[in-house]
């Protein structure tokens, strides 16, 4: 049901875009206004969300320590997962951001009934890590590849990504490896939400919607490249026009391009409103980005306030006689 609603939402977006793409008069709206609007919403929304997070202080130093602390000199500290230096934190964050270190730890817990009672095993489970890694990296490379539409002349590094990505030289135009990885990975991420019972139970429409949306973006892009070919030169003129703030609308770009563009615009606009903000959030997660030096350097809580305490004097007043009788020294005789 939740998935169906999200699916329908994406279908509606596709229909709207198909309509927009096939009516010449709407091209200005779908080719220029909406992409600009989406970009502004993305950048503005992203910055707004980060600043909103930033305005809440970090009152305590609460890194999750995932390795040996720094203590005695002869005990080997885990300098990355329990970092006491900025460099350690940078490496830790880099491992999280680029290689999904924490997800790599994932295990699968299984309970079986043995002869002598239950047996719980915690086996390695790397599929989620692998799927996510392929998904995110492919997405990034695909975005970099798309820079060829926005930059003129096309920089060497973009060309390099392009030629490496198409290294198999299968088909014409050659198929991109990332296109395949991306489609497989996004399908995997979607399918697991249907087939893993726990995951199906916790998933919200807000989990299905971005997956359907991203999948439809991928499919529309691949249809354009491999099946219903469009005039690439015209597409680049449009894209370049957008980037130069002198938008032009070349004729003869197929409707499918407008579908692709509209779906991307939807994703951009939706991004800051959604859980997709984990892209920014991971950098600000206090359990990962803090130096674990709470016993070495005092951390200041900006909203720290006085609290009512029970002082020693109050304590002694209550127990003075008992203390004296037990031979425990007191302040006031």
């Amino acid at each position: 049901m939740k998935a169906l609603l999200s699916f329908l939402a994406v279908i509606i977006l596709i229909l709207v875009a198909t309509f927009g793409g096939s009516v010449e008069n709407l091209h200005f709206l779908f080719g220029i206004i909406i992409p600009y609007l989406a970009f502004v919403m993305f950048v503005g929304g992203f910055v707004y969300r980060i600043i909103k997070w930033g305005r809440s202080p970090v009152p305590f130093r609460i890194p999750t320590t995932i390795g040996q602390q720094k203590s005695l000199p002869w005990i080997k500290q885990n300098k990355i997962e329990n970092p006491t230096s900025t460099l350690g934190v940078i490496v830790r964050m880099a491992m999280e951001v680029f290689f999904f270190r924490s997800l790599f730890r994932n295990t699968k817990t299984e309970l079986t009934q043995g002869a002598k009672g239950p047996i719980i095993s915690h086996g390695s489970a790397k599929w989620l890590w692998l799927g996510s890694l392929f998904f995110h990296w492919s997405f990034l490379i695909i975005i970099i590849r798309h820079l060829r539409f926005f930059l003129e002349p096309v920089p060497v590094f973009v060309q390099l990504f392009d030629s490496i990505d198409g290294i198999l030289q299968i088909g014409l135009p050659p198929i991109y490896l990332t296109d395949l990885f991306f489609l497989v990975a996004v399908t995997f991420l979607l399918v697991r939400r249907f087939v893993v019972p726990q995951l199906r139970y916790i998933s919200l429409p807000a989990d299905f919607f971005p997956l359907f949306l991203i999948m439809s973006i991928a499919i529309s892009g691949m249809l354009m490249r491999y099946f219903y070919r469009i005039d690439i030169v015209a597409v680049k003129q449009l894209a370049l026009g957008l980037a130069q703030l002198h938008p032009v609308l070349p004729e003869g770009i197929g409707a499918i391009f407008y579908v692709h563009l509209f779906l991307i615009s939807s994703l951009f606009a939706y991004f800051p409103l959604s859980k997709l903000m984990h892209m920014g959030g991971i950098f600000m997660s206090p359990t990962r980005n803090m130096i674990s030096n709470s016993r070495m350097v005092r951390h200041i809580n900006p909203w720290d306030h006085e609290v009512e305490v029970h002082t020693y004097a109050q304590y002694e007043d209550e127990f003075r006689e008992k203390m004296k009788k037990a031979g425990i020294p007191v302040e006031k005789e």
């Binding site: 950048v43 992203f46 910055v47 980060i50 600043i51 930033g54 305005r55 202080p57 970090v58 820079l147 060829r148 926005f150 930059l151 003129e152 002349p153 096309v154 973009v158 060309q159 392009d162 030629s163 030289q169 014409l172 135009p173 070919r229 469009i230 005039d231 690439i232 030169v233 015209a234 680049k236 003129q237 370049l240 026009g241 980037a243 130069q244 703030l245 002198h246 032009v248 070349p250 003869g252 950098f283 600000m284 900006p302």
Partner: protein, 145 residues
Amino acid sequence: MYKGGKIIASLILFVAFLSIPFFYNMGKVNAGPENLQASISQLDGQQCVESADYMRSNHMQLLNKWRQSDVRDGKTVYVNSQGKSFDISLQSCLECHATQATKNTVGVNNPALKTSDQFCVSCHNYASVKPTCWSCHAGPEGAPK
């Protein structure tokens, strides 16, 4: 803001990164690939092997088909959708898609193909697509491989 400086600096970097395309292209003219029309407009029918729209989107498919027919199947003539026949040969392309000065010198040292004001190269550079023609054909000296 705790670590406010770092947050603001990161945001500036992030926005700067996103605005690369705007600055990169600043002040340039969005003219599209040069010489897009080439000499095709000088022809009688003003049409390539197939319609211009078709060619723009599908020329790579057509060239692929030509290679298949010529090299593998031994068919050296292509009949287009209007019933007109063409020799399957790179020469047929260059009949039109080369400047008058350099016409008919393909395969040896055709300056038409290596300078960016010529047909294949200018478009392909613009879209950043590297054709694989020259991995078999003896390309002109300096042509992109």
